[in-house]
Each structure stands twice: as structure tokens, then as C-alpha cells.
Symmetry: C2
Subunit: 457 residues, 2 copies
């Protein structure tokens, strides 16, 4: 099959799939996953609506909004479609608590769902058309990411931003009914706008490229609708996106097995707002936080905390001297201490406030690492050594949040419930949860946004 | 000097120069060049105001304009600052007839002047502040281009788009009075938005990245004004713009000799809307078009036309079978024929209409190339062999439009006059010419835009 396709344009093949694939052909488990990822999207977007990055961006972007067309999630504020899409993407990703496509480390839903939601608010779109566009846009985004991985991210490209613009373009392109040729042009317009650097991670500038991915992907499709043309091979051309941004691109991974292989099934949702290598450690420490022996002796009796895991655990998270909430998201010392002391591991536990909590640093200082590459990155063992030689241990073989042990539907609902509270939008999660699970029955997907508008402050 | 600076941040050094350099210290010839490049900018922007690319973009961008803040050149139309800046940049560059910075092949003025003009229309800015911001923005843009050349363009990056966003950010950043720290953040916000691919050349998609360079550079500065932060070393950082987009970047070429070396002096203006290697050939053919011997015998008596020049002339322009005006801009066969037949070489001579002119192809078919690398790319010899062994030749040693033989002030004025007519905006070039030459005396640079608004259609 690949040999036959190699004589055709990868961009055209992708466009054909996006233009013609039907909801009726989407497998049931893929349909369900599209709702799960949307629910997870709302949870993270609602967590960050008053974060300082979003506040500043809303100030500037708000000055250039042409009309109150679409909801800025949680802020009781409306902007035009492009600006609302940009801000909602920024919000969903600002804490890096959004979904993760494991083969590429793309956060696929954040740049794709917001333009669709903005469009759905201004045009009556069925829930099925909405979910189909979402899952097709994510498919395009992640397949293009596969084609440039791992070189692209390693070189320094912020892959969610650079590939997200294609996902948004294809999602909107499908939703507004672009032809195959117009979809190729939309890919071309997106290729001209693909940007974002790893150097910006940890700063607000990252959010600019994230917002652009959504905004400019949407714009790419709207331009193509006017027959604003582009190159024939924007992806695989000699000077196209793949060759320019990757030394060893694999164009053929973009095509083939359409409708059979689904990248959304390689997508996972984070239980904790941390680097995913910390998942098993945090899970173990949360279990230990209610351990009777430990409660009986008290945390002061802890002499040492041994973390045994894959060497990546130590390499990425051995950070004893952190200063900010953002740094705490990749600090094993902080994660262990806060999970043991507070018995929780949400955004509040990885905030600037939590880092200033004087009780945590002395406990974190007792953490030591034991590298053992027989562990996977989804597994770890935590051993607590107490005064008087008591030893308590918990081993996690496959952490919650791994592709092999995904969050349950209930887990995602609870994540939404918790993050609604954290974000202080006043949004009631229950009607939203019900509406997302029933979205494929809805005649008007834009109604969702009435549920996430938020209270006036 | 370089050794001392290497311990400092290149981004910070650049920001310091942008924040602190004064108009009083700008050398007189640099001041004058800043006006020449602005006049050339207006000429090309006024040529393209109703081109189909601009029409389509204006349709889509116009739907998202929040207020009629700033003039879209020649169209009797106003949009908000960001959208007007984008459209004016697109227009100035759509025919590739704008200025050329020879070391990098950046078209430096197109992404930098439009955001400044949009700002000047909405805020009272002196002509001196305007010209200083223009020349500083161009300096930043071209120095960053130097640092990534030649690898960056060769790899497939559309260097005017990718570096233009930094130029626009620095120009606006200076104009609105950002601090050094805020300018570094503006560079960071720009680094997250640098995009544009060579693959899109010859299509409308190129114009998207050009418009973004202006729009997003302006946005980068406006975000930085709100202390929207970015990385400390957006240019020279390990995963910063230079390392990610060039294999052999030279960060130090960005700093040093500030106020002494001026990249605007390496910038040239095109006499013809063609690849610059055609300049000497066209100049020779225009001279031949009035040659008495040739006029006496008639063009039908031509048996052969020999072009002797650097091998790049043949490599880049041996295109006998062209179909579109755009292709004709890099076709020696077309350029020779149209210059001989019409005695002109303006945009009308490199249009789709001209390519359909049946008299030109047979004449162009008589062109042959003689490679001689003792010629520079600015020189060529054209020999016409007539029936009966008459031989007429013209040799051009340094073509008009080369950095070594720049267009005169009068040449640029005449280019503006011709392109005003071509673009059909109804703009009167004479008051504009006078206003640009006197701009350093103006208390309100935004008044310029009243002169280029154009008539209602």
C-alpha cells in the first residue's frame, strides 16, 4: 500500500482523508475518546482562566477583538473567533496539564478544540460534525508530528505549536467544508505560520505560539475558503515543512491506515500537573500519605526516602532547590514532600504558594534516587525509612495516566470538578460533564460554551 | 571588542542598542537612506493594492478588524493596526519588487515600515522618531539575518518572514519606549512566532508569513509592554532562534559596531520587477530598443541574441517556456524580448498579459547563454546578430540597482510615479514624495498615510 501511495502527494492524500472520512465510520472507542479528550480539555482550560499569562494576553488581544463572537472560557468575556480561540488554547496549555500524545509529546487537543468551539458558537454545528472535526484535526496534527519526530523537538521546536497549526487548519477546514484542493492550500497557509521554540518553555512567550497555532490554523482554513492558494506539497516538498524542520522526516507516516490507526488512542490525560515521569512516584506517595504506620509515627520520623526508577526519573526530576510553582512541576523532592504532607497533588500543590511552604523543603531533602533501568518510566518504587528501622514501601507497576492505564471516565470527571474549583470561574462542572458525554446527540455543539462562560468577577 | 562582548547576552546587547541609540547620532547618509527606502516602500505598496492576493486577504482580515484605525495603502480602506500592518506588508512584497539586503536577500523594509505607519496614524509620532525606529528595526532584522546566513535560507526558511518579525518587534518596541528588559521579552515573543517557508514562494501562502512578520512583531512589542515575559536569550540560547534555524549561526555578527556599521547601506532598490541577476541584461536591452541600426532593420531581422554573463545568470533565468507573469520575472527569454519590443520593463511587462503576447516568445527563443565567470552578477553583455552579419552589442559593467550603482533619488521618485499609475489607487505621488523627503522635519509622521489612502473604487 505504501509503495502505491509514494507516487502520490502526501499532502493531497491527507487532505482527501480529511475531506471525505465520515462520522459513521469512526469506531465507537474513538468516538468515546474524542469526548474524553474534550472533557479533559475543559478541565485544564477552566483551571487557568485567571492565570497571569492569560490576564495579560486578554488585555492585549482584547484590544483587537472585532466583536463578542465567542466565549473566553471561564472569564465571563467574549471576543472574536480568532482571539477567543487563541486565548482558550493558551489557557488549556499554560500549566502543561493538558493531554499528551506519547509518541511525539504533542498536547494535541489544546490547539484544535478552541477554534472548533469558537466556530460552533457562531454557526450551528451538530455534535457529530464537531467531534469528527476534532478527531480528524488531531489525527492530522499527530501524524505530522510523527513524521518529524524525534528530530524536530530535539532540535528545539515546540512541537505542539508547530504541528498544532496544521491540526487547527484541518479541523476547521473539514468543519467548513473545504474541498481537497482547498485543504491542501490550508496546509500551505499553515506551513507558512508554523512556529514555536523550546527555548520559550517556562515563560509566557510559549503561550504566544500556542495561541497562534489555534488562531492561525483557523485563519489558514478561512483563507483557503477564499481560494487563497499555496504550494502543491506544503508538507513533503523539497523546502516544505517536513524537510525544513526535520533532518530525517518520514513523510509516509502521515498517510496509510486512515480510519484504522488512530493517534487519539496514543493520547493520555495527566492525573497530576507534573512531568509524566513523576506519575508513579506521586501515586505511591499519595498512597503512603494515608499509611497507618507512617501516620502513627509522624512524618518527622522519616530518615530517608528512596525513589527507585528508570534513570530518566532522576535525570529529569532531581531538583532540590526550586523557587517557583512551575519548577516544582518537575521536582521529585517537591512532589514527594507535598504528596506526603497534603495527601493531594493538584495545581495548588505545585503553585508558588506551595513552594514557599516551609515544611516541605526539609522533607524533600530526604529524597534520594536509585537508578534501575529495568523499570519503565511508568513504574517506580518508593521506600520510606523511619527512625527505629521501620521501612514502608509502595511499588507502582503502571502509573495512572499511562497509555496502558488511562484515567477512567470518572477520573477525568473528577479532574474537571477539581479544576473548576481551582480556576475560580464559578462554572458548574455537572451540566458540562453531562453535555460532553451527550455531545454526539446534540444538534448544536456551540451550546457547550454557555456552560463554561463563568461568572462576572 | 568581540571577546569582551562574548560574556554578555547577544539579545541583551541588541536590546540595549535599540533602547538607547539616538537620532542625533544617526549619520546623515543613513538618515537619507531611511527616507529612500521608505519612498521605495510606498512605490511597491502602491503597485499591488488591488492585486488578487491582497483582495482575498483583505476580505478575510477585514472580517476581524476591530476598528478603522489605520490605512490600508491605496485601497481607501481602514483596518485596525495589526491587520493594516499585515496587509500593507503583504502588498509591498507581493511582486518581490521591494528592497533587497544583499548579504541575506531579506526585503527589510516591508515588514518594518507598516507597523510603524499604523502606530503613527493612531499616536502622534515625530518624523525623527519614526525614521529612527525604522532604521533600528531594519538593523536588528538584517543583523539577525546575517547571523543565520547563508544556511537559513538555503535550508528553506523564507528569511524576510522569519527575520522580519524581529525587525517589526524592535521598531515598535523602540517607538513605544520599551525598556531593555522588555525589548528582550519582545525578542522572545517574536522568536515564538518566526515562520515562513521558501516552499510557499510563487503562491499566496508566502504573503501570509509576510503579513504575520509585521503583525506579530507589533504584537510581540505590545505584549512585552504588559511585561509578558520570555526567555533571557531568545536569539542565542541553546534552543533559541539562531541554533534552531541555522546549523552554523554566528551570534556575534548581531552585536558590535553599533552606530558604525549600518545594514541599511547594504540595501538596494530594484529598477525592474525581476530577479536581480537580470538587471544588467534588461538595462542592455532597453538601450538596444532605441538602437538606430536595430530600428532600421527591425526586430524580425534578429537571428540570435547572445547573453554573456556569470553562470548564475543562466542557472537562474534560462526559462523559455513560461506560463505566468510571476515566472516571467525570472525568465531571461521573456525579459530580453519584452524589453526589446516594448522598450519598458515595469510590472506591466512581467504580467500574465505580457506573457500571453504572441510576439515575444519567438524573439525570446533566439536567446542563448554564454557562461563567463569573469563577469560579476551585476554585469552582462548582450550581442544581437542580425541577418547579413550585422552585430550590435551593449555591455553593462555595473547594472543599475546594484549596491555599487544604486538608484538615484530621482530614479526612486520615478519608480513611485510609475507604480502609482500601475496600481490604480488614484494616489498623487508628488505630495507623497515631498512629504517623505521632509519627514525628519515633521511633527506628525502619521500624516503620510493621508497621502496614500487612495480613491474609492
Amino acid at each position: 500500500m505504501r509503495v502505491m501511495m509514494s507516487t502520490q502527494s502526501v499532502s493531497s492524500e491527507l487532505a482527501k482523508f480529511i475531506a471525505t472520512y465520515r462520522w459513521d465510520d469512526v469506531p465507537a472507542h474513538v468516538r468515546h475518546e474524542s469526548k474524553r479528550t474534550l472533557l479533559n480539555f475543559f478541565s485544564v482550560a477552566l483551571s487557568a482562566c485567571f492565570d497571569s499569562t492569560i490576564e495579560k494576553a486578554a488585555t492585549v488581544y482584547g484590544k483587537f477583538s472585532c466583536a463578542p463572537q465567542a466565549t473566553v472560557i471561564g472569564r465571563n468575556q467574549r471576543m472574536d473567533m480568532l482571539n477567543a480561540a487563541a486565548l482558550n488554547t493558551m489557557g488549556a496549555n499554560v500549566f502543561d496539564f493538558d493531554d499528551t500524545h506519547f509518541p511525539t509529546i504533542i498536547h494535541p487537543t489544546s490547539p484544535v478544540a478552541p477554534p472548533l468551539l469558537a466556530w460552533a458558537e457562531t454557526h450551528k454545528i451538530s455534535g457529530q460534525d464537531f467531534l469528527l472535526s476534532l478527531v480528524l484535526g488531531m489525527e492530522a496534527e499527530c501524524r505530522i508530528g510523527n513524521a518529524v519526530s524525534p528530530y524536530h523537538y530535539a532540535r528545539g521546536w515546540h512541537i505542539t505549536s508547530t504541528c498544532g497549526v496544521f491540526g487547527a487548519a484541518m479541523a476547521i477546514g473539514r468543519l467548513i467544508g473545504l474541498t481537497e484542493q482547498q485543504l491542501v492550500w490550508a496546509l500551505g497557509n499553515a506551513s507558512a505560520q508554523a512556529s514555536g521554540l523550546v527555548e520559550t518553555l517556562g515563560t509566557m512567550a510559549k503561550s504566544v505560539s500556542m495561541g497562534n497555532a489555534a488562531r492561525n490554523g483557523m485563519l489558514s482554513a478561512l483563507l483557503a475558503q477564499q481560494n487563497f492558494d499555496g504550494p502543491a506539497q506544503p508538507l513533503e516538498g523539497v523546502r516544505g515543512f517536513l524537510n525544513v524542520t526535520a533532518d530525517h522526516a518520514d513523510p509516509m507516516s502521515i498517510v496509510g491506515e486512515f480510519g484504522e490507526r488512530w493517534e487519539v488512542l496514543n493520547n493520555a490525560y495527566k492525573p497530576y500537573p507534573c512531568g509524566v515521569v513523576l506519575n508513579p512516584v506521586i501515586e505511591a506517595c499519595l498512597a503512603l500519605s494515608t499509611n497507618e504506620a507512617l501516620l502513627a509515627q509522624g512524618l518527622d520520623a522519616i530518615e530517608r526516602i528512596e525513589l527507585t526508577g528508570h534513570s530518566l526519573l532522576r535525570q529529569r526530576t532531581d531538583r532540590p532547590a526550586i523557587q517557583t510553582g512551575r519548577e516544582s512541576q518537575v521536582s521529585a523532592q517537591h512532589a514527594v514532600a507535598v504528596a506526603l504532607v497534603r495527601g493531594r497533588a493538584g495545581l495548588a500543590e505545585f503553585s508558588d504558594e506551595a513552594v514557599r511552604d516551609a515544611t516541605l523543603k526539609p522533607l524533600g531533602a530526604k529524597v534520594c534516587f536509585i537508578d534501575d533501568d529495568s523499570y519503565t518510566v511508568d513504574s517506580a518504587k518508593v521506600v520510606i525509612l523511619m527512625r527505629g528501622l521501620t521501612k514502608i514501601e509502595v511499588k507502582v507497576d503502571v502509573a495512572r495516566g499511562a497509555v496502558a492505564r488511562p484515567l477512567t471516565d470518572r477520573d477525568i470527571e473528577d479532574k474537571l470538578r477539581a479544576l473548576c474549583v481551582y480556576g475560580k470561574s464559578g462554572v458548574d462542572p455537572e451540566p458540562l460533564i453531562a453535555a460532553v458525554w451527550a455531545l454526539d446527540q446534540s444538534k448544536d455543539a456551540g451550546q457547550l460554551m454557555k456552560l463554561v462562560s463563568g461568572n462576572a468577577r
